[in-house]
Amino acid sequence: MHKLNIALEINGKKIIREVNSHYRLLDFLREDLDLTGTKEGCGAGECGTCSVFVNGKLVKSCLMPVAKVNGMKIETIEKQGSPDNLSIIQKAFFSQGASQCGFCIPGMVMAATSILRTNPKANIEEIKEEMGGNICRCTGYQKIFEAVEIARDVISGKLNESFFENYEKPEKSYLGANVKRIDAPSKVTGRLKYAADMKMPNMLHMQVFRSSRPHAKIENLNLTKALAVTGVETIVTCNDIPGIDNFGVFIEDQPVLARGKVRYVGEAIAAVAATTLEAAREAISKIEISYKDLPALFDPEEALKDKILIHEEYKTNLVKHIPIRKGNIEKGFANSDLIVEENFTTQQVEHAYLEPMAGLSYVDPDGVLVIISPSQNITHHRHMMSKIMKLPIHKVRFIMSPVGGGFGGKEDMIYQGMLALCAMKTRLPVRYVMTREEDIISTAKRHPSRTNYKIGISKNGKIQAVKLKMICDGGAYGCSTEGVMRKGAILGCGPYKIDNLEVDTIGVYTNNTPSGAFRSFGAFQSEFTTESMLDICAEKLSIDPFEIRRINAFVAGDLTHTKQKLNSASIKTVLSELEKLSSWEKGPSNCRGKNRKDLNSNDNRLSCELGARLSSSSDEISGIK
């Protein structure tokens, strides 16, 4: 690898180093200097987790070749404060609970620092605008913006620093109380180590060879040229699995590495472990494969016909069907004044947690296989791993690294098996960090859904009957589909008393990217249809949308859709709070005047605009010269 000599100042210290000439500033900071507070969330300048100061200007270090910063002054999150000596901005983030998963927070603190250095009087619109290059997936930004405003006021002396000690010590319930978030100092300073931040001596780097075909037989896989690449320690395939290969949350249908055939684009086929990331990537490019394409299924309804089978051994593409029956829907529809039937679709959604998948695996001196990863389900993963690796359970240890956002996406085991194989085979520590693109192409998504919905309702707004049939695309492997179908069915008809209902949720195998767990776990897809139907009925019956929900809302003593008796029900409280907070203009949505009066109140927002810093009053911003 070609090297480059650079001399620069990092966090006040002058250093001279020899670096890989193709490194980005981000690589240099993380890999050579272990300044891992600067994160890599996307590698394409989109997310802001890698923001650092270069000669006093905030830039994205993933878009900065290291050669460009020769002779310059770099300042990273590590300069801003330490857990026992936080900067005012970090204290403000801490006090507002502005750090959740924490992965975006070093970048956010850097952006806030940049704003308040150049524009100490920044108003909220200016703050929002200048933080536009930093993405957070957890907080919804509100707490972050509040933290920056508070920091601004403390720095200017408008607010006393004692504000930061304003925590409550609740005696009874922690609900709603402002309590200290004890993990915040490690996050706001960038000191917390996520899996990709960890390093071990002699550590290898793993990369994965993935399928370019949706459904194909693997006819020949030739590793000779890849194995010849200098630095390659091992390449593993399904043939290296010592135990029972298949795993899964509900159905054990997924091989660690494709066995005989591939079922979706992006499926792992082989994994390379090498002494450098560059060598591992080069080896991947030298793996030779030939496929025999099979007819592929991309449409779940087509897949249900079972003309082509994705998992031959199951003789069907149905993953799970959850039926619920209650009352008599024919009678319910007969008693209805209005019957509406609609079809709904929802799309595949990526979790986009800011921390791409990453893990580190090694075999400890006692022969225990250790896997460190941001897994949301380590106990289950450990049990599966013991079977896959044919190790007794006490020889498998899972350590949950800090999860830089998961939202369900880190619940299914995806890459840990490959890591374990490489570590067992080489007896060296092996690290794997996915790129954002690889993460998006290969990991489980929210189930795309198609729903046929029929509702019968009386003139007075009382629901008489519901028939809901939802077909979900489960993708190539079972993952969490069964659970998602169950939740989708149980919760699909919403918090409403419905005496007659027929619900079917059906999960199906296709050759699409596997679908898995994602916030609300199937209920989102089905409840969306119920809520949409209620809005449609409210318009048709000229009833206020809040009112139609109150008419049908569960109360204590009601039976749920699966006939569980409720001891309490809070939906009516939630509705009245929501009505108040949204400044709702009463009346059916389609019977208002030309201009809605509830828009543009304090509680709802105008469409986005930019240019807060273009007014003449902004000329105090120190950057303007």
Partner: protein, 311 residues
């Protein structure tokens, strides 16, 4: 992953031409904000180029000169400079307006105006604004160790998607644009989100009105994101110049260039947005000249389309 052996940062054009003439395998970069994301999965994948030539430090490419009738900007000037320079903010108002919608503050510190033009993206944000300033590009080339210069109108320099009139032995040196003192302007953009987003449609509008504030003296409109290259909206401009400032004329002008739309996706949506943006950008420009037309001109435009029951 982008891999290379050498990273050259020439300081002047002589050094630059010496490099390009002595090297075979090279790629030119400036801000690098497009090149690094390009060398990733889904686009170019892993790329190996032996030599990278970074032109952002070449002195001639950093020229910054404001004269009575024009502004001269080196192609390596960053978008953040357009946003933060005091004189530009005062006299070339369209430039900070486009800058604030361009990527985000951090990328603007690196991204250059020349890079945005040479990339020739159909959705380039900077290009429509430059077009409305009657931008001229100045190209410097070298033949047999002799330098020469070539001037082109920006609209003639961009030949197509990712294609410009630039030979291997040439470099985009700087841009010359009209001084628009006394004009009012507005930049409108929509994409999937606010910051860091590729334009679905963006419109740049630069307007001069008569001293009695009754007629349009000069109107310049340009659009990007709707066809292969950013374009001036000639029909609307010609229609409005000399006409009375009123709702009727603005609405009439808004539909004249609709046929320009030739995008791969969402044609109907873009048509709707282009009409609205032309109206909105003119109204917003006029507002800055303290002329307010009825706030709800766009609503009136659509008043015949009553909202029915959603279902």
């Amino acid at each position: 992953m982008l891999r290379y052996d050498n990273y050259f940062i020439p300081k002047n054009l002589d050094d630059y031409f010496n490099l390009t003439q002595s090297l075979n395998d090279y790629r030119i970069v400036a801000g690098c904000t497009d090149t690094l994301p390009w060398a990733r999965e889904g686009r170019a994948g892993d790329v190996y180029i032996k030599n990278i030539i970074d032109v952002s430090k070449i002195d001639d490419l950093n020229i910054f000169k404001i004269e009575k009738d024009k502004i001269t900007l080196g192609s390596a000037i960053t978008f953040q400079k357009l946003f933060l320079d005091k004189i530009i903010r005062k006299d070339f108002k369209i430039l900070p307006q486009v800058a604030v919608w361009f990527a985000d503050d951090q990328i603007r510190e690196q991204a250059t105006i020349g890079g945005n033009i040479v990339n020739a993206s159909p959705a380039a944000d900077g290009t429509p604004a430059f077009l409305t300033l009657n931008c001229k590009v100045i190209i410097v080339g070298q033949d047999n160790k002799k330098k020469y210069q070539r001037n082109l109108k920006l609209e003639n320099f961009i030949l197509g998607r990712n294609k410009v009139d630039l030979k291997n032995n040439e470099i985009l040196s700087h841009l010359e644009m009209d001084n628009i003192k006394g004009y009012n302007c507005s930049f409108e953009k929509v994409g999937h989100r606010r910051s860091l987003v590729i334009s679905t449609v963006c419109v740049s509008c630069v307007i001069k009105i008569s001293s009695d504030q009754k007629t349009f003296t000069d109107v310049r409109l340009a659009v990007a994101g709707v066809c292969e290259i950013p374009k001036r909206l000639i029909k609307a401009e010609n229609f409005l110049i000399g006409k009375l400032i009123n709702e009727d004329n603005i609405i009439k002008a808004s539909i004249l260039d609709i046929d320009i739309i030739n995008s791969r996706t969402r044609v109907a949506y873009r048509k709707e947005v282009l009409k609205n943006f032309i109206i909105r950008s003119i109204i917003n420009s006029l507002k800055k000249a303290k002329i307010s037309l009825k706030e709800n001109i766009i609503n009136n435009f659509y008043s015949n389309k009553k909202e029915n029951i959603h279902a």
